[in-house]
């Protein structure tokens, strides 16, 4: 899979409709990742599904999605935008992951990203991404059923992310995305109740960037597969920091709310200007460079 530039849309951000994915491509993204899609439709949780904190967002959407059968037409349409389309997939069993992944690839997905790290839906997400054995089985089943690259999106809510990364890589993951949101919550002091209808959710945005950089750095020390950095990137400096830590590409989510979709264009240009100024010929030359020191 080749990217025109190392920026991608993160999963769950405007990723439910092909047309809004198209907008993100127009805004400069090198690839797009869809909202996580499962076997059956899900309505997600009641509002509030998002809390705006001072330095990030906490969300517990509850994986709303129309199910893969319905979603196939959005994948078809998204294929026309000329950048790789990565379909994010979740399931409640290894078989479900494999079934959904296969349907996504049959519909034209250039890769699938396994969401094994959603911090707020039970029985999928974290329960899988926090357990190297279960995770390995999911990855193997998906690898056996699709011929396209399989990315695994990792959770930071683990004792040792490098260990989980290694399990995914050994099971055949073609790339690792790090990180999904950090489990968090907010309570309103006046009403004394948790704000999110689901109570707990996942923190994204600038607040988690130092945690995400550390995760990428630790994974790079341990495994050889490409890493896609994600978490709190809002400008080109943040993106370069992830590349230096060991990521070969980056995903951007919350920054779209902070700076608008053109953040992709700005980051892309900023990275290029940086490479030129520093005399590097390509992104590859700086991937993992901070480990040399």
């Amino acid at each position: 899979m080749r990217l025109g530039n190392p920026t991608m849309l993160a999963s769950g951000i405007l990723g439910l409709s092909a047309e809004s994915l198209g907008n993100i491509v127009m805004a400069g993204a090198g690839a797009i990742v869809t909202k996580s899609v499962g076997l059956k439709p899900r309505n997600g949780y009641a509002n509030p599904t998002i809390v705006q904190t001072s330095y990030g967002l906490i969300n517990a959407m509850g994986l709303p999605n129309p199910g893969i059968t319905e979603f196939v037409k959005e994948i078809h349409e998204a294929k026309s935008f000329g950048v790789p389309v990565i379909v994010s997939v979740y399931g409640f069993s290894a078989e479900e992951y494999a079934t959904v992944a296969k349907k996504a690839v049959d519909a034209g997905a250039d890769a699938v990203e396994l969401n094994v790290s959603c911090p707020h839906v039970e029985e999928t997400g974290s329960e899988i991404g926090q357990n190297p054995k279960i995770l390995a089985e999911v990855v193997r089943k998906v690898k056996a059923s699709v011929e396209k690259p399989v990315f695994v999106k990792l959770s930071p809510n683990v004792t040792n992310i490098a260990e989980i990364a290694e399990a995914a890589a050994k099971a055949g993951a073609d790339a690792l995305t790090a990180i999904n949101t950090v489990k968090a919550m907010a309570i309103d002091t006046e009403t004394t109740v948790p704000i999110l209808s689901n109570k707990k959710g996942g923190l994204s945005g600038p607040a988690i960037k130092p945690v995400a950089v550390r995760c990428v750095y630790e994974i790079y020390e341990r495994v050889k597969v490409p890493i896609i950095g994600c978490g709190g990137i809002t400008n080109w400096r943040d993106a370069v920091e992830f590349l230096l830590a060991g990521a070969t590409a980056v995903q951007i989510g919350t920054a779209i709310a902070l700076k608008g979709p053109n953040v992709f264009k700005k980051i892309k240009r900023g990275i290029n200007a940086y490479l030129r100024r520093k005399g590097f010929k390509s992104v590859n030359e700086i991937v993992g460079l901070s480990h040399c020191s």
């Binding site: 198209g22 509030p48 998002i50 809390v51 009403t191 919350t254």
Partner: protein, 277 residues
């Protein structure tokens, strides 16, 4: 960094007490509370209102006063709005916002068309705009007489010579019998308008849009879609390539032409699937 921190912080949820409740119609109540930020809102903008432990729903801003007072008109249609209707003065609600864009404030010859609680943002607009217009015609529709909203306030603005208030009820209990769009055809044939502002049921707005296109009149319509984040991130509220919460809720005729296959026809469900309106 500083700016974005401000940006997120500026929209943070805050709680405030309900200061006043008025019954506007059998199904609509007006709630007033203090919120410095929403008090700076412009006509067309909306807020997210949190009914603690129940839900958070988008509501158009009806009034935004310099003294910090903000009002919303809420129609009882389901769980959240019913729970809201049960609230008493002094109880706590949460507010985020204001969100979205606003109506342009055009002078000249203006036609406004509203239906149901869609009247709220149009009334807000009318009150800000009335003194600047050469002509102002306000067409409002409702099921029945007692569901015609804000009639007193509208009569106050629309008392002058260059103004006109036309009401339409489906059951004919007041004004013209039929939909709000009924008097429009004749109005647009008879008179030239510089701008049509509309908010209400989307099928109604679609008809207004088709008429405006036919007569070559500029138009701005305020749309509703499922809102979750309200900050342009989650994609729940999309119509075509637009996010209603961020690129809207007010759209121009030009934008609506782009989304003709959806506008007045379909919307996205809670799970993101397109369903008929």
């Amino acid at each position: 960094m500083k700016l974005w921190a401000y940006h997120i912080a500026a929209n943070k949820l805050r709680t405030t007490h309900i200061l006043n409740i008025e019954t506007e119609s059998p199904t609509v109540k007006i709630f007033t509370f203090e919120d410095k930020q929403c008090a700076r809102a412009k006509p067309g903008q909306f807020l997210m209102l949190w009914i603690p432990s129940i839900d958070e729903i988008p509501l158009s801003i009806l009034d935004a006063k310099e003294n910090g007072m903000v009002s919303v008109a809420v129609k009882k249609v389901g769980e959240a709005t019913s729970a809201f209707h049960k609230k008493k003065v002094g109880e706590l609600i949460g507010v985020r916002g204001p969100f979205g864009n606003c109506f342009t404030l055009k002078g000249g010859r203006i036609l406004m068309v509203s239906g149901g609680t869609g009247t709220a943002p149009i009334l807000f607009l009318a009150e800000r705009l009335a003194s600047k217009t050469a002509k102002l015609v306000f067409v409002m529709g409702a099921k029945t007489r007692e569901e015609l909203l804000f009639m007193n306030r509208l009569r106050r603005i629309l008392g002058g010579e260059k103004t006109q208030l036309i009401a339409a009820t489906e059951d004919g209990s007041y004004g013209i019998k039929g939909l709000a769009t009924k008097p429009l055809e004749r109005l647009l044939e008879k008179e030239r308008f510089d701008m049509i502002y509309t908010c209400g049921p989307e099928q109604m707005m679609r008809k207004v849009f088709d008429l405006a296109e036919k007569h070559g009149v500029a138009l701005e319509a305020s749309l509703e879609r499922l809102m979750r984040c309200a900050i342009g991130l989650c994609g729940s509220c999309v119509i075509g390539r637009y996010r209603v919460c961020k690129d809207g809720p007010v759209f121009t005729a030009k934008q609506l032409r782009e989304v003709k296959s959806e506008f007045g026809i379909s919307k996205r469900d809670f799970n993101g699937r397109k369903i008929a309106l």
